[in-house]
């Protein structure tokens, strides 16, 4: 918002009882807004990101540890192809999952692969390669739409639900346990 340069803060103060009243009302409203927010604490905040050119996904913040820009990934011989490899993260070898391959999404023309979101669930920590971080949002778990029917490419188990019709919230717990199962079985 631009402030005209010839005005001082004092000029914005209420100049008459009418204006004073408006200010009081506004104050009350703002105070109410605060209360309202606390009442809606069952909202889950999530990080929203992009895979490919136009698919949006989300991971609840409580499950994420950090978002890092992509570094050199070392591939591990003998690992399935959806495992991109490993990186060093604070002295610990972190497994990196190629989320697009794992979800069997088609490879996009322009591979961005710009970021790694690290998630931690049930003592398993994995980094997920994503193309682009969009931002944060919040959903009400009771108001998520059901995942699309099995006609979609992705196993419905991997999706917690759809937020606002276009962001698929990932079920990290299922994805990680499926990972352990699939690789353990090899």
């Amino acid at each position: 918002m631009k402030t005209p340069t010839n005005k001082y803060a004092f000029d914005f103060m209420p100049q008459n009882p009418n204006e004073q009243h408006v200010l009081d009302e506004r104050r009350k409203q703002l105070a109410k807004g605060q209360i309202k927010k606390i009442e809606m604490k069952n909202l889950v905040e999530y990080v929203r990101f992009q895979l490919g050119e136009h698919e949006y996904y989300g991971i609840p913040y409580p499950l994420t540890k950090e978002v890092i820009s992509k570094t050199t990934i070392t591939s591990i011989p003998g690992a399935p192809d959806f495992i991109a490899g490993v990186i060093n993260r604070r002295g610990i070898i972190l497994t990196i999952l190629d989320l697009k391959k794992f979800l069997q999404l088609p490879p996009s023309d322009k591979e961005l692969n710009a970021y790694i979101i690290t998630v931690d669930c049930n003592n398993i920590a994995v980094g997920l390669i994503v193309d682009k971080i969009i931002g944060s949002d919040a959903y009400d778990p009771t108001l998520l739409d059901a995942p699309l029917s099995p006609t979609g490419a992705i196993k419905p188990d991997y999706i917690e639900g759809i937020h606002h019709g276009k962001t698929a919230i990932l079920n990290i717990n299922t994805i990680l346990s499926e990972l352990v199962l699939q690789i353990g079985r090899k």
Binding site: I76, P77, G78, I92, T95, R185
Partner: protein, 729 residues
């Protein structure tokens, strides 16, 4: 006692450790007294120190309300008070009694912690201790010593333990942070060298600038040039300044971080005496049980070693010592008849060399009969008679480390606490160590253990193949060669090279690992020869870069089951380099040759050539785990949920091997095994019994009913199961 329960718990925990220390202290003293101490002053000192240790235990245990321990220690204290005052004398039975009392204190402590009733007759022990005291007349003044004021006692304790206990988790965390710091230091070094290049560039520019200045200019330009010149000099000076300041700081940082890393490494080291001090007691007890006279001499126990390594050395050492006393050292009469000294000698020597610890354990006993080893191995189908013919004595001797070799022999001979020397081999190999054995008939046997000083650091060979860096652990490498392409020849349809007149199969690393490789074989080949037991294979790589000290970090879930990668290492940069599991590389090559052969067979004959294994277990987790492990190696697997079901299956189908759990409903594993082994049709079927760390009695029972091998569940993943299966099928 109005103590906070959490605090009390902590205190009890601390006291438990103290009791162990002090108990060990008393034991060592007692054994010295038993041997006899010549120097009178030294002897007095030992007695006083035992007295003091018992007194300390008494004080602490009573203050925590652990009365059983308090009572026993009180009696030990009184005994030694009397000994100090020379009212009673030390004799062997008194030493035995005190040793027993020390053990009972530990067990009373355990009972207290577990809130369980005492597992020995407390009154009987106290009675015996009282009688020991009354051996001579009772000394009333001994009670005086109990009146020590607690502050005095506390001060004494404080002086004795001028150290703190740190959890190993904390240490690991610190080590990890330290490594991370080193990585950053290397990055700073790199930036610093960039800065150095920048200052050179500035100097080069300076020369050109000087030339430009000498060109004729008009006055406006002249002024501009001079302003430029001023700025330039400033930049040049700043860069120089920065460079010089950074140089001294970086040198200092290097020095600090290196010595810090070194100190951290040292923190993890403990004297090997911590473990070895328990051995004399063990040898004494065992030789008494076996009625043999044995003297244990320990040398070099001041050598320090990583605590983690030390802990894993305990079982192998005990096992070898037991083996030496039970099988090696002869009975007194036999020794006399052979003209040897009556007392057998066990020498345990520790030496540190090139960051590795060598422990040799030698006895002057009967030695190992190689012919007998060969006979047993053939009778157990571990090797065929034709294989035996081409095996050297050393290779035959090595058979005693194979799973399934010594189980029966050893269990029938002694209390059966373990199952054989294969455990020794497995434990030592897991530590990245080696165990070798030498024997001379009639003269004795020497076991040689070679383990790294610390678990975390070792050496690896850095190689490249398929445009990727790999590290192969140096322990598995026999040697490194550069050969020209015409030295490769074909044998049995496979490429091979000659090493010491023996053909060794040749593979490319990329092929073993299923990597795509564009570069064709050049004329000069870099070859790494790796070994597993006496299997040798030659592996071609693009380039051998050299040997490096490495720190292996394990892969994390979900990658913990990737067989051919043992972990990752960071070499300088931030990038992880995979450390290859050389043994697994050999397994893969062995396996592929088998599958190739099998594939060829399958085309002509019936497809059922794979060994068929019956897995019996009532737990679905164990069942599926075993099934997965076995199927990964292309065995055909059928499962049954109890003994009865397995027995029915055995009547209908033929199997090459059965793996069974012990505790199952309807029919347990022992009964099943017994039925199989007594059945006319099935008694040749190899049986492996699987248990969670079972009791000795359980193990013994398993052998009695005729099981061929015995596997502990926790060892599944380590490949023990597969190794045994491979042997028996």
């Amino acid at each position: 006692m109005g103590l906070d329960p959490e605090l009390l718990k902590q205190l009890i925990h601390t006291f438990k450790a103290e009791l162990e220390e002090q108990g060990q202290f008393i034991t060592t003293g007692l054994l010295q007294l038993e041997k006899g101490i010549q120097d009178n002053e030294e002897r007095e000192k030992t007695i006083t120190s035992i007295f003091r240790a018992a007194h300390n235990i008494k004080g602490s245990s009573r203050s925590l309300g652990i009365n059983s321990v308090g009572e026993i220690s009180h009696h030990i204290e009184s005994l030694f008070s009397s000994i100090q005052k020379k009212t009673i004398e030390i004799n062997p039975s008194l030493i035995d009694l005190c040793l027993e009392a020390v053990d009972k204190m530990q067990s009373a402590m355990n009972s207290f912690v577990d809130q369980a009733p005492l597992d020995f007759d407390f009154n009987e022990l106290i009675d015996k201790l009282n009688k020991g005291q009354l051996g001579k007349k009772l000394e009333p003044s001994s009670s005086e010593n109990k009146q020590d004021s607690p502050t005095e006692q506390a001060r004494e304790l404080k002086n004795q333990h001028n150290s703190i206990r740190v959890s190993i988790n904390n240490m690991d965390h610190i080590s990890a942070l330290m490594e991370e710091m080193q990585v950053n230091k290397i990055a700073i070094d790199y930036h610093y060298s960039e800065l150095e290049k920048l200052t050179t560039k500035i100097k080069q520019f300076q020369k050109i600038w000087d030339q430009i200045l000498s060109f004729p200019k008009n006055s406006n330009e002249q002024a501009l040039y001079h302003t430029g010149e001023d700025y330039f000099i400033e930049i040049s000076n700043d860069a120089n300044h920065l460079y010089k300041n950074m140089r001294s700081r970086i040198n200092e940082l290097s020095r600090l971080s290196n010595s810090l890393q070194n100190e951290i490494r040292l923190l993890r080291l403990v004297p090997i005496a911590n473990l070895l001090c328990t051995m004399p007691r063990y040898v004494r007890d065992l030789s008494h049980t076996l009625n043999k006279k044995v003297e244990l001499i320990i040398q070099g126990d001041e050598v320090k070693i990583d605590k983690m390594v030390l802990e894993k050395l305990k079982d192998p050492l005990i096992h070898i010592l037991r083996n030496c006393i039970d099988h090696g050292i002869e009975t007194e009469e036999l020794r006399r008849s052979k003209g040897k000294p009556e007392i057998g000698k066990l020498l345990l020597r520790v030496k540190e060399e090139n960051n590795r610890i060598h422990i040799t354990i030698s006895d002057d006993g009967a030695g190992i009969d190689i012919k007998k080893i060969a006979e047993i191995a053939v009778s157990k189908n571990m090797i065929s008679p034709s294989e035996l013919k081409i095996m050297s004595d050393k290779q035959i001797l090595d058979l005693i480390f194979k799973p399934g070799f010594s189980s029966k022999e050893i269990i029938t001979h002694i209390s059966g606490r373990g199952i054989g020397l294969d455990i020794v081999k497995t434990n030592i190999t897991n530590l990245n160590g080696q165990v070798t054995i030498e024997t001379q008939q009639g003269k004795g046997t020497t076991f040689d253990l070679d383990v790294p000083l610390t678990l975390s650091s070792e050496y690896g060979l850095l190689v490249t193949d398929a445009n990727q860096l790999f590290v192969i652990s140096i322990n598995a490498i026999e040697r490194v060669l550069i050969l020209s392409a015409n030295e490769i020849f074909n044998v049995e349809g496979h490429q091979a090279i000659m090493l010491n007149d023996h053909p060794i199969p040749l593979y490319s690393l990329a092929n073993i690992l299923h990597l795509e490789k564009a570069t064709p074989l050049s004329d000069r080949l870099s070859i790494v020869i790796i070994k597993k037991g006496w299997h040798l294979i030659a592996v071609v790589v693009d380039e051998i870069i050299g040997e490096r000290e490495i720190v292996i970090k394990p892969l994390q879930d979900p990658l913990t089951h990737i067989a051919c990668v043992a972990g990752g290492t960071l070499l300088g940069g931030n990038q992880v380099i995979p450390v290859l599991n050389a043994h697994e590389l050999i397994n893969i090559t062995l396996h592929t040759t088998i599958t190739h052969r099998m594939a060829a067979q399958e085309k002509i004959s019936k497809p059922e050539q794979r060994p068929h294994i019956l897995v019996v277990d009532d737990s679905i987790t164990t069942r599926s785990l075993e099934k997965n492990i076995l199927e990964s190696k292309h065995y055909q697997v059928t499962v049954a949920v109890n003994g009865k079901e397995a027995w029915d299956l055995l009547q209908k189908q033929s199997f090459s091997l059965m793996i069974t759990d012990v505790n199952m409903p309807i029919m347990d594993g022992f009964t099943l095994t017994e039925q199989v082994k007594t059945s006319e049709k099935l008694h040749d079927l190899p049986v492996i019994i699987v248990t969670s760390l079972g009791s000795d009695a359980e193990k013994k029972r398993g052998i009695e009913v005729g099981a061929d091998a015995y596997v502990v569940k926790s060892e599944f993943e380590s490949g023990t199961l597969l190794e045994i299966v491979e042997q028996l099928v």
